[in-house]
């Protein structure tokens, strides 16, 4: 089972280490982790995707809530959130596969952001599943470099609860 933990944390040095240390010490998985500042510079947002059984996922939430540097934890399943991931992939292409690659980019909504005679860099921003689907289409091609952000997520809009 997968779950997303969106945590507002104090933007201080050492907080990431403390949170990562918690996952390590208690043998919780980190499937992905992204950190960035929020509109308030004193607060960062950490989005952690983890997987495990129900008890583990519940423990993760409780243990995160216990951390004194964490202001608020929002926990939700993938279906309850809007998740996006960004990937940049640099590949080597040739005349034979160039057309296939470009077609796949078009189908999946990826963009070529850098190009040379033999290499191109593709950018794709989409749900983690679609990003993975796209990367799978590149399996037969030589990937030179790849950078992936990990999942960013917010809960889906529910007018009443969000207005609070």
């Amino acid at each position: 089972m997968k779950r997303i933990y969106s945590c507002l944390v104090e933007n201080r040095s050492g907080v990431l280490a403390k949170v990562a240390g918690l996952f390590w010490r208690r043998c919780f998985n980190i499937d992905s982790l992204t950190v960035g500042e929020t509109e308030d510079k004193a607060i960062s947002n950490m989005v952690i995707v983890s997987s495990g059984d129900e008890r583990t996922l519940e423990q993760i939430e409780k243990q995160l809530n216990k951390k004194l540097d964490i202001i608020k934890v929002k926990t939700f399943d993938e279906s309850e959130g809007i998740s996006q991931e960004l990937v940049l992939v640099k590949i080597r292409y040739n005349r034979d596969n160039r057309k296939d690659i470009m077609e796949n980019c078009q189908i999946m909504g990826a963009r070529i952001v850098d190009l040379s005679k033999s290499m191109m860099t593709i950018k794709m921003c989409d749900t983690p599943e679609r990003v993975q689907m796209f990367l799978d289409t590149l399996k037969s091609i030589r990937i030179v470099e790849l950078a992936r952000t990990g999942t960013l997520a917010v809960t889906k809009i529910k007018e009443q609860s969000d207005e609070k």
């Binding site: 104090e10 050492g14 280490a17 240390g21 519940e58 423990q59 809530n65 004194l68």
Partner: protein, 544 residues
């Protein structure tokens, strides 16, 4: 005013009486400033013991214990003491000196990343980067340590910050933490649910842990048990919550508990777990305890609930406030049959145990440890503080301790050998009028007997019982059962003569070698208010 002056001023604001510590250059400004106050400093002989003494002090007074040590090895040495306090949720504040801020991270002399090293066993830690933050950090540290689920807080403070000039010192009235609001009051709906289930239950039981002591909820729990006639068992950390002669009390559960306590837990149809972790040593199969019974789990730490066993009724809150709320409710139906059954088990087991013990006492050539502990407890003052170490002595102590109005401390969670003597030092300083006895094995004794010097230096008259069998008894016992008497690295030959140790530290010394003299020797041991070392010779083949 310097940062160091500010630190000690904060300690005074927190009404700190004692700082247990060990100096070094990186904490020298702090120890210099403390001379200008009436705060008493105690020089322990190894940094770990500063934390244990603060721990014993905290458990005796309910106040925060304070330890201060230097950077590098001073800081790393205190780690075990911090971990011990964390495992038992004891409120202590540990101040470590650190190298100059500009040098942090460059691996200079006596630099250790102590906050990084301690992250997984502190409740919270601070690295002080700005001298003006000292009052806020100190206020927060004391509040965090001694609220919610108690625990150690570490403050690492570079030497230049201790020397820096602080603009204006304002000690805040309260700690303002947007990330920390421990739940105090139990949820009223959940409390009603507990009573609804109690009405349906026919075999309820309360299992109390160390959390009851930490919340100072002993009286409330006793009242609840008595009023509703619900039997009570305890974990090792819960020893002392119930008086031994309380008719509702059925002893300690777990690996090292007694058979009727465990039987009561197994046969109960409803367990009210209060301030206990449901850890492996007390509940052998946490998953199974919920199979055929209702589990109510009360704890101030929500993360504790459901960690090891999924409760039917979780109840987050301060144990004292929850049980006070319980006591407001009308008492529930009686469980006479259940109590009669448990009393019968207890009587049967106790009779058998007594018969067996008398037989062993008669046959033994050396001292029978259980008999010794029982007689010691009978002769202790009503409100004595008993500190058990770790090992066989701890099992004998836990199994035979008689609670009247005293206190019982041990390192339950971490099982830290050498805890008892420094903890007893802290306890004795906290209550000079009370009898304080440390019971320790000869293995653990050699891990901490340097503290006899601390006792001598500051005239801290602790009574020490060394149960001596020349072995690391509990491991030996394990090797006896698990490895067919292949004893590996458990022989303590080469240990010093305890009479000479006692003489070297100017302590009275009493040796007890056989059962017939137990009473007289204990009388002599407890007869005065001086430091006394009592050596109790026990056969290595005794099983705890």
């Amino acid at each position: 005013m310097t940062g160091a002056d500010a630190l000690v001023k904060c300690l005074r604001e927190e009404a700190v009486e004692y700082v247990f510590g060990y100096p070094g250059v990186a904490i020298a400004p702090f120890f210099n400033s403390i001379l200008d106050t009436d705060i008493k400093t105690i020089l322990v002989r190894q940094e770990q013991h500063a934390a244990h003494s603060a721990n014993g002090y905290a458990r005796t007074t309910g106040k925060v214990g304070v330890a201060a040590v230097t950077s590098g090895p001073g800081a790393t040495n205190i780690i075990t003491g911090i971990a011990t306090a964390f495992a038992d949720s004891i409120p202590i504040v540990v101040i470590t000196g650190q190298v100059d801020s500009k040098l942090v991270g460059s691996d200079v002399f006596q630099e250790a990343d102590i906050c990084g090293a301690c992250e997984s066993f502190v409740k919270y830690s601070y690295i002080v980067r700005n001298v003006n933050d000292i009052p806020r950090i100190m206020k927060e540290a004391f509040y965090i340590a001694n609220s919610g689920r108690r625990g150690p807080v570490l403050i690492d403070i570079p030497i230049d910050i201790q020397k820096a000039h602080i603009k204006d010192f304002n000690y805040p009235d309260e700690a303002k933490l947007r990330t920390y609001r421990p739940t105090v009051k139990g949820n009223a709906v959940q409390i009603k649910k507990v009573f609804a289930r109690l009405k349906e239950a026919s075999r309820p039981i309360i299992c109390v842990g160390g959390g009851v002591h930490l919340a100072h909820a002993e009286e409330a729990v006793r009242e609840f048990a008595l009023k509703n006639e619900i039997p009570v068992v305890c974990t090792m950390m819960g020893i002392g919550v119930m008086k031994s002669n309380d008719p509702m009390f059925f002893g300690m559960v777990g690996n090292n508990g007694n058979s009727y306590g465990n039987r009561a837990m197994n046969e109960a149809d409803m367990i009210i777990m209060a301030g206990a972790r449901v850890a492996d040593r007390s509940i052998s199969q946490p998953d199974l305890i919920t199979a055929n019974k209702t589990l109510v789990h009360i704890d101030v730490d929500p993360a504790e609930i459901g960690k090891n066993a999924g409760p039917e009724i979780p109840l987050v809150g301060d144990i004292a406030s929850v049980f006070e709320a319980f006591n407001q409710q009308e008492s529930v139906s009686s469980y006479d049959n259940w109590i009669d059954t448990l009393k019968a088990y207890k009587k049967e087991t106790d009779d058998k145990k007594l018969k067996n013990l008398l037989e062993r006492v008669r046959k033994a050539s050396l001292v029978t440890p259980e008999e010794f502990i029982i007689q010691l407890c009978h002769k202790l003052k009503d409100d004595a503080i008993y500190v058990a170490d770790v090992g066989q002595n701890q099992m004998w102590s836990c199994g035979n301790y008689i609670m009247r109005n005293g206190k019982f401390f041990t390192s339950g969670g971490m099982g830290t050998m050498g805890y008892s003597i420094p903890a007893a030092v802290g306890a004795k300083l906290a209550s000079p009028d009370k009898q304080v006895v440390a019971v320790i094995g000869d293995g653990a004794f050699q891990m901490c007997f340097m503290e006899l010097a601390t006792m001598r230096q500051y005239h801290i008259p602790v009574k020490i019982v060394v149960i001596k069998n020349g072995w690391l008894g509990l491991v030996r016992q394990y090797q006896h059962f698990t490895y067919n008497d292949r004893f590996s690295v458990t022989d303590l030959s080469g240990s010093p003569e305890l009479d000479k140790i006692a003489e070297a530290y100017e302590m009275n010394y009493i040796k007890l070698s056989n059962n017939s003299e137990i009473g007289d020797k204990i009388d002599a041991f407890l007869g005065d208010d001086e430091s006394t070392l009592m050596e109790v010779d026990v056969n290595p083949s005794e099983i705890a």
